[in-house]
Symmetry: C2
Amino acid sequence: MSVTIKDVAKLAEVSISTVSRVINNSASVSPEARRRVLAAIDKLGYKPNQVARSLVTKKSNLIGVIVTDIGNSYVAQMMRGIEEVGRMYNYDILLSSSYGNPKTELKFAELLRSKQVEGIILISEDVDEAVIDVIKEFNIPFMYLNKYYKVSNLPSVSIDNYEASFMMTKYLLELGHENILYITVNNDKVGSVEKDKIEGYRKAMEEFKKDELILSTKDFTVEAGYDMGNILENLIDERNITAVFCCQDEIAIGLINYCYDSNIQVPKDISICGYGDTKMASIYRPSITTIKEPYYDIGAVAIRRIIKELEGDKIEEPSIYLPIQLIKRESCRRI
Amino acid sequence: MSVTIKDVAKLAEVSISTVSRVINNSASVSPEARRRVLAAIDKLGYKPNQVARSLVTKKSNLIGVIVTDIGNSYVAQMMRGIEEVGRMYNYDILLSSSYGNPKTELKFAELLRSKQVEGIILISEDVDEAVIDVIKEFNIPFMYLNKYYKVSNLPSVSIDNYEASFMMTKYLLELGHENILYITVNNDKVGSVEKDKIEGYRKAMEEFKKDELILSTKDFTVEAGYDMGNILENLIDERNITAVFCCQDEIAIGLINYCYDSNIQVPKDISICGYGDTKMASIYRPSITTIKEPYYDIGAVAIRRIIKELEGDKIEEPSIYLPIQLIKRESCRRI
DNA sequence: GTGAAAGCGCTAACAA
DNA sequence: TTGTTAGCGCTTTCAC
């Protein structure tokens, strides 16, 4: 068996309380006793059993994170922020992947709870009120991170999508583009950020007195972007489209792939920009003009807020918005 | 406070032992008592405290994973496999990122231990014997995953790099390429898989009676690949190089980026292949011919082996090699 | 089939 | 400054 506090106490010839005091620095211990305890700890290679400690202190120092899919680049970036900041404050991360299944999310939430996590971060790509309600009832700090939807009154960290979309559209307009296509993803659900982004696009187009043109694709994948290719090809001729604002980098990449395959040159023949600034956007050629969503920071701020709440701070504003950035790269040119 | 086994016992008017028996199905309980207990559990929304349970059973159902950086695509893929298979067997994942720092790895290893993890998976990119030794001493199932180094006699899951490299080189030769450049990364450390890969390349070149040409770059990054560009440009002229086998996809992508910027067409002017089959390799244009390292499976098999060991199976072979695949895409052409 | 009691490894009164 | 003791929430003998 592994060595316990008793073994240390015996070897150091003190009581277990004294050992406990030494390892927790919780009360004054005579230099002599401390020395003996430390020596014993060293000799035995004693490491306190955190499980036992948790049981009595009711502090697990665990924060549960439920993600859709850790294989998604942006999720991994958020995890980095979560992990790194959590670590600074001595919190460990219990990870579970739901693959977008609400049933699984629910199961994991309860599992995390039974493991006594002190807070939960849910990274979701859909909205399921049932899961949210259950987690809320746990009465522990909770952060809801969703790149695609807003849920009002839920503590979260995100960006101002309206502003970002407006900024990007304006940039394209200022480059001289007059006919700018916005590619969104079919979505009627309440809270979809696409609504805000479309508003931002519209606002800018109106300001420049240009006609809007919005098309939907089926989802946020490279394939969906690729599939928009032939429609775009027609639009270039028929509507003299010179720039496309894609609602996600993946779609932009798919579209540029189509162009590559069809000998349409980007940005010479058409300017294409994305949204998100995933890793790929900077590595791909042409490198992609996009909006940088600060994934790392979103994760970092989310866990920081949880820890603050754990430390007693009440969080005032449920939603925090982080600054975005327009990243100008090769895929969009002045016209 | 949250509801405990006592509350359930009181409401059901049985002893806590009976409640325990019901939730664990550990001994026969009269139908009537079971019914009452179940009703009480349901009414109170009772969830057993896993921490308390762990303390007595000495089973935490936790597996600790130390990764270099969850932001790396291949690490995230491995994590998927680890998480998903762990979940099937009811194990939770405690995640920590070392960012390659051995001191941090060590600290996390001990932290994980004190959290009573039942097994540890270390995903590393360097070799630090000290860390390995410490983890070994924990005497719990341990898997060592390292894409770049082999450490003999350590339980691990990897691929046969010699074979993979041989296969790829042979493929290029069979496409008609005669002068094939292999780009490796400067590395004298023992156990580097680059040694095996170079051997595989050599073997194939010898078999086809061609001269080898090997160059080193500084690390496994896109930038390092890009930096090889001008050297390659000269080599195309001077040595009539028609194909480049890069030891990692990132380097291949960097090199192709250079070509893109310098109006060298891939694969028309030069064929370039990579190694790893990261996500990027299939999305990038031209799509990249590469060796598929089965990251997901590596993670899945690693944790499965840990669980098997936890279940009492002794693991015979320390190292397991998973099958690789040659993925033929656009970046290499017949000559 | 069931309850009482011991104990997992630890912290935190409390008393000395 | 120190030791004794009670418990954290649970499982598991051991009697009955």
